[in-house]
């Protein structure tokens, strides 16, 4: 058994920042990550990091833009904290050596981005995330923070009181990918989950293969609700074969979208008569898919993004990286051909429900980064707002876990007095638990809560048994088959366009995946670097997370931000200014709601119509 004050799970931007903050607050901290830190997905971010740094800009404008961008589903205390802390935390990155792009006078550059009233996106070339990730890892090395890299975290060690609000988290169970050895990691003060997004729930995503929603699923099964999971951002320009992202910068520079008939459809079919290709991400994504559905897609699948008219010189000057991506990943030369693009899953606005201090309803359990939902992005995230979230809330979670007093949070978590009860929506199948392999919920452990060490030990035993069972089984279904089916179901029915019937179909298919998973087995008999085993466990997590996304999409029968519903194409503020929460009770999900907090420090953000 290993023991530290604070255990941070995941070493992307959020996890590294949390670890440094906990270290600075005096805690003995360890990072446990299934990938070596520099391999984390934060490295893929291109555009930049929003922070009100310059005169003429201020945090209040940033907060306002963010609330509006969220389609009024952001919680004001979280949004204001983000806007207030981002400038100092971004400057801190600069002082840690991050190579930001520079102006002539040596100051850091900022550029305009969608939905921002001021050009406040600070950037480092088109590789902001790469530089942020490496800069943060450098600080971890400098401080000598212990890193357990290539350790896969399987479960949390939480107590099992009936009410999740009474539970406590004492550590995690992980296995060493290289040796297969399963161990307990005891956290004397707190566990911070920073495991990133769940993009692999979809067939076509800009996310890394490691983005499997592990943290979401572990926290969920331990009793922390998942919030606003239905809000998934689809980026309009990803490459069809791999999902690799083609930056919004191409359209920013004047790139044009064409359908198979050579029409500039954004204008010619009236999707966005004012801003055309530069309409917001959800609008362009819907337009592209409509073209394909109406038979004007290329190869029935995608549309063309053309930048040839910009000229070689300008392309090489500003979009060089895009040429490489199109060439390397699609075999297309962007100088002589248009690039194929289609919408791809990109970002999860929802996640593990936390307050401004990063804490979940379970004592000692924190979450930060894309796996968490403090509610800064609401229904729609603005480009450049995820990276500041990592450093602002990563820092806060790390400090609080290490014992720093950050004051009483304004955002509440867990099931309590202020929540509205279950939904009336009829579910097509009984979601959730299906037999043995699916259990692993809190209740399944039974018994009276022992001391921290005892709880951890019991969890380690359960994990060992689970792995043995998967490895000992000689035949059955392989995870890849189930995963592919799940991803296809989500892409077919819980994508950019959603209908009640479709989402119900998805839920039935997810249920099937859950049942097939009962028969899953691991073919690779080796304990050494068994990626078959790891992916099998990840697939179970994807099933749980996909189910919460589909459930959220089914019950929210309005159109808000990235969530479009065929049956009701209007935002319904009267009924839906509230967060959807899904919690796992006794092996089955239940749904409840919590009102959005629109009151900020000095003002209330009044919902306004979002026009396109």
């Amino acid at each position: 058994m290993y023991e530290h004050d604070v255990i941070v799970v995941g070493a992307g931007g959020a996890g590294l920042r949390a670890a440094v903050a906990a270290d600075e607050a005096g805690a003995d901290v360890a990072l446990v990550s299934k990938l070596h830190p520099v391999r984390s997905h934060t490295g893929a971010a291109e555009g930049g990091i929003n922070a009100a740094l310059q005169e003429g800009d201020d945090w209040e404008l940033h907060a306002y833009d963010t609330m509006k961008g969220s389609d009024y589903l952001g919680d004001a205390p979280a949004v204001e904290t983000l806007a207030q802390d981002a400038p100092e935390d971004t400057m801190r990155l600069e002082h840690w050596g991050m190579p930001f792009s520079r102006e002539e006078d040596g100051r850091v550059s900022q550029r305009p981005f969608g939905g921002l009233s001021y050009p406040r996106t600070t950037y480092a070339g088109a590789e902001t995330g790469h530089h942020l990730l490496h800069t943060m890892y450098e600080q971890v090395v400098k401080r000598g923070i212990q890193v357990y890299d290539e350790w896969y975290v399987m479960d949390l060690a939480t107590t099992d009181e009936d009410d999740p609000n009474d539970r406590e988290c004492h550590g995690v169970v992980a296995y060493d990918v290289q040796s297969g050895q399963i161990e307990g990691f005891k956290a004397n003060q707190g566990v911070v989950l920073a495991t990133g997004g769940p993009g692999q729930a979809f067939d076509h995503t800009t996310n890394a293969v490691s983005c499997t929603g592990d943290g979401h699923a572990m926290a969920y099964r331990a009793g922390a609700p998942l919030e606003d999971m239905e809000f998934i951002q689809f980026h309009p320009t990803s490459l069809p074969s791999t999902g690799v992202l083609i930056s919004e910068g191409v359209r920013g520079e004047g790139g044009i979208l064409y359908n198979s008939e050579g029409e500039r459809f954004m204008f010619e079919h009236g999707y966005a008569n004012n801003s055309g290709e530069l309409a917001s991400r959800d609008v362009v994504a819907r337009a592209e898919l409509t073209e394909v559905q109406e038979g004007r897609g290329v190869n029935d699948e995608y549309v063309h993004l053309d930048m040839r008219h910009l000229g070689e010189e300008r392309i090489l000057d500003r979009l060089e990286n895009i040429l490489h991506l199109a060439e390397d990943f699609e075999g297309v030369d962007g100088l002589v051909e248009p690039m194929p693009v289609k919408p791809g899953q990109h970002y999860a606005m929802g996640g593990i429900e936390v307050d401004e201090n990063g804490q979940t309803c379970i004592d000692g359990l924190y979450a930060a980064g894309e796996c968490a939902c403090v509610s800064v992005h609401g229904g729609n995230r603005l480009g450049g707002n995820a990276l500041p979230e990592l450093i602002v809330f990563g820092k806060r979670a790390g400090r609080h876990a290490a014992g720093d007093d950050l004051g009483e949070p304004q955002i509440k978590t867990g099931y309590g007095d202020d929540v509205e009860d279950e939904t009336e929506t009829e579910l097509p199948v009984q979601p959730g638990s299906a037999g043995l392999e699916s259990s692993g919920g809190v209740a399944a452990d039974g018994g009276v809560a022992a001391d921290a060490e005892g709880i951890l030990q019991r969890k380690v035993e359960t994990a060992r048994e689970r792995v043995d069972r998967l490895m000992d089984k000689d035949d059955g279904v392989q995870h890849a088959e189930i995963r592919a089916k799940l991803q296809q179901a989500m892409t077919d029915y819980v994508n950019v366009f959603r209908t009640e019937e479709g989402v119900k179909k998805a839920l039935r298919l997810i249920r099937e995946c859950r049942e097939e998973y009962q028969d899953v087995y691991v073919d690779d008999p080796s304990r050494t670097f068994n990626t078959d085993l790891q992916q099998t466990i990840e697939t179970r997590n994807l099933i749980d997370v996909a189910e919460t996304i589909a459930l959220g999409a089914l019950v929210r029968n309005e159109f808000r931000g990235a969530h479009w519903r065929q049956e009701n194409q209007n935002r319904d503020d009267e009924n839906w200014l509230k967060h959807t929460l899904v919690s796992w009770d006794d092996g089955a999900p239940s749904i409840f709601y919590r009102p959005v907090i629109l009151e900020g420090e000095s003002k209330t953000y009044e919902p306004k119509e979002r026009s396109y």
């Binding site: 984390s40 400057m91 590789e127 699609e330 890849a480």
Partner: protein, 290 residues
Amino acid sequence: MSTQQQQPETQEAPEDPEMKGAESPVDEKEKEDGMIDQTAADASELEGKTVLIKVFRYDPEVEGKQEPRFDDFHVPFEKGMTVLDAVMYARDTYDSSLTFRHSCRQAVCGSDAFFVNGKQRLGCKTQIADLEHPVRIEPLPHQEVVKDLVVDMDHFYDQMHTVEPYFQDEDTPNPADLEEQRQSPENREKIKMSSRCIWCGACMSSCNIAAGDNNYLGPAAINKAYKFAMDDREGEAIKEHRLRILEQEHGVWRCQTQFSCTEVCPKDIPLTEHIQELKREAVKKNLKFW
């Protein structure tokens, strides 16, 4: 890293039914019709055909795999298919125990550097259509093989850590004042290429000197040091400290300018040039040769 796994010459996968990896997904007839010959074919020629990949296999723990071998997989070609796509297809379709690291699929995480047709390359960034066939995929040479295409990266990380890879400022204004350190665009441009390193290890694996001298810092670590040493924000005293680390016995002077690192770097970092420049800086600063 003393126990380097010897990698064998190409060998056909044995006809052992126990070995999943040896199973061929196409029957013999199909193979003859659909398979590409040994010469390079362009993408249009490959359309609708099957690509033969020969993948290195080794697992210290599994009896049938303790003796290193190559397994053949026939993968249906698709336009835009990369080496990573091909091994993923082989794993998900034929043999789930086929093991390799990968994550981002877009050349930023640095986890899938393999030895493809005798050269260090990123799997996700290498188009199948650009390669000679059949395609031979092996782990990075000069590293210990953990299993199949996975090598032990600890030595690489250790060397990266040796150069004190973190910013060391002389005096920093308070970030709370939103006052950044100033850096000229020219100076930023100077370090730009060096800052692109994704720690893939391709350069280190291609370097003859590193293969012979286990203590040699190697191109990636030296390049990392370059990034800091050339960043004006750190100041002169720290630059000198960095140069002292670099000019030690197993540092920059070991480099014999063979350019192999520069040739394989997937991020086009001019590694050899950076090493040469640091040698000149060390001379200028009048630092002792060891």
